[in-house]
Subunit: 193 residues, 4 copies
DNA sequence: AGTTAAACGAGACGGTACGTCGAGTCTTTGT
DNA sequence: ACAAAGACTCGACGTACCGTCTCGTTTAACT
């Protein structure tokens, strides 16, 4: 009746991903080894390799399994308020322990392994970007943004500085900082060129 | 007169860094091994470990040895023109082969190894940022920017989107894109909040 | 039927020991390295370390694997003849190439490594000594030796001078010399104290 | 007047040998390294290599520097008594700490390194053997031993069992055991062949 | 006394091997 | 049939010494 093979497989898959995150939190991604995950999960290494092609792929899946799309956009009709709400939620999830350090490491892995980069983009970055773009497009269509508003660039200006501070400068992101970015985007920098 | 010991040591140091970059270009940072660098450079492993504490540290120094600060700011009196010139030069150097892939990998390593992150910040990111800030400050003092202009945020908005596209979305940076970012910073996004 | 795991493991074990002896004969024990044995045998170093704790232990086992107990005692009823036969066989095996130099080196290793010494005693020296003692005891019980005959000392007088010449003075052992030792033991030195 | 160069050189030489023995006692010969001796003695490695060609050679000299020929034979006219006295002294020196373990290790090294073996023979084994032979010869000439007494064999029977027990069986030598060997040599084994 | 040459400490250097670890593959056994 | 268990080859890790080789710096012998 029930697909026992499937359910058993699912069990292992989840157990492995759970262990991966557990170990990742304990010792960090850099020191994580498939060997150790297998041992801790009580699973043969084969069983891991059968499902994932590399440590990065396993790690990506493990991390994504956490984020059951908590980062969806609300639509209250107020684009600024909606963006604020979503981005505040995003930094809360992605820049704070326990996920923060792991997400940082995942991006590090992606920069060293193109396959992980592609998968990360396909399964997380692009979908999220598209949600943002879609919300912005709605706002533009509703006249909250001018017709010539550059959605892609806006998206990058919303994300870029945050990633830059989180990954490159490595300072914790604050809600105040997010607000400054959003304000700059919508009300300008008071420049006088 | 000359410090012969020093010059000998310098020889090795440079030979090792040269070999590191060479091998890095050939096989990529991820597959690089200290063993291979030592062999190719005709040098004992100890001689490498004596100078650098990890593969990342060696790689960082090797890459920085290339950038004989070509990224200094001009000061023509026109802040926008000067920023354009510098940022165009920067993406030309840092986002194109041969340095581009290596720089990406270096940041990847930094995300996995806090020591490398700290060194990268100290020796490259922060000094570069400070040059940008200094140039912006001059412009503000000269009245080219309004007194309330947020220099730090401007810096992040200039860098963030570029890093975001280069590292996360992994699309090649174009001069046209740089110009759009600069324009958005100084003339606004035409938003209508 | 057959223990397949065992047979595979046995294959490697024997291949490693064979290679060890081969290399030992070529370059000598002192220059032997586990690295070289592994490479020559087409085996990972781990596979050697899994089985033996040190170069000495590997070497001991390798050498003992040769001696398919050819050194058993005959019992013709004539104790002198039997000892002669066995000891002549022993020096032929242990003091001549190819085993001679390796056996000498093994004892050298045993003198530097107590674990090897213990293993050598347990697996070779003591068993051989006990065979000799047993044969002597039979002879004494049969009245071929006087009741007060000191078996242990006899054992040492049979072995000691041979080891002394072989290891310390480092002269090749001859059958004539063996006969002089045996004769001295049984018929005395013609001393006149 | 005094050879000052010589005296300085002698100082170093002695300091190095002293340190060698000191370290040898602490960590054992097997773990001894020229590097460590140099460091401990506050001496450059060159200064050691200038004097000795190998660790074994250094160790041999260091050990021999201790034995300012305390093992000379007395000649009281009683060959048995004189042998006893000398051999008892020998085992006391060579089989007991602190020299015992080092002497054992030296012989181990000699078995692995022919140059050390040759030097050990030339500088210690052979001279000692000749003293024994000389003393025995005097006894034979004086008629204390029969004219056909085999001096070389006697020498081996006096030494062999002791070395055998000390090196191979690795049991501590006792004076009682020495006496049994001497008695066996001179009064026979009470065999009845 | 000043010069010169050897010996020296210090330690960098190219090597070789160590013993360990993990990757990814392959085999055996159990269920 | 599939999975745990783990043995296997391979490659690299970071360390320790080897014996050689500069480097200045004593030191003492000979101008």
């Amino acid at each position: 009746m029930t697909d026992k093979r499937g359910s058993r497989a699912t069990d292992r898959t989840e157990a492995i991903m759970r262990t991966t995150l557990e170990l990742g939190k304990e010792i960090g991604y850099a020191k994580l080894s498939i060997e150790a995950v297998a041992a801790r999960a009580g699973v043969g290494k084969h069983t891991i390799y059968r499902r994932w092609s590399s440590k990065g792929a396993l790690f990506l899946d493990s991390l994504l399994s956490l984020n059951k799309s908590d980062l969806d956009y609300p639509d209250t009709g107020d684009i600024v308020a909606d963006l604020r709400r979503q981005i505040h939620a995003a930094i809360e999830l992605l820049d704070r322990p326990p996920v923060g350090p792991l997400y940082r490491a995942l991006i590090g892995e992606a920069l060293l392994n193109p396959q992980v980069a592609a998968a990360l983009n396909d399964h997380f970055i692009t979908p999220q970007a598209e949600k943002t773009l879609a919300r912005l497009k709605v706002a533009r269509d509703q006249g909250q943004l001018s017709p010539g508003f550059d959605l892609d660039l806006a998206m990058d200006i919303l994300s870029g500085p945050l990633y830059f501070r989180a990954l490159i400068v490595q300072e914790p992101l604050t809600h105040e900082y997010v607000d400054r970015v959003i304000e700059a985007l919508f009300t300008g920098m008071e420049s006088r060129p």
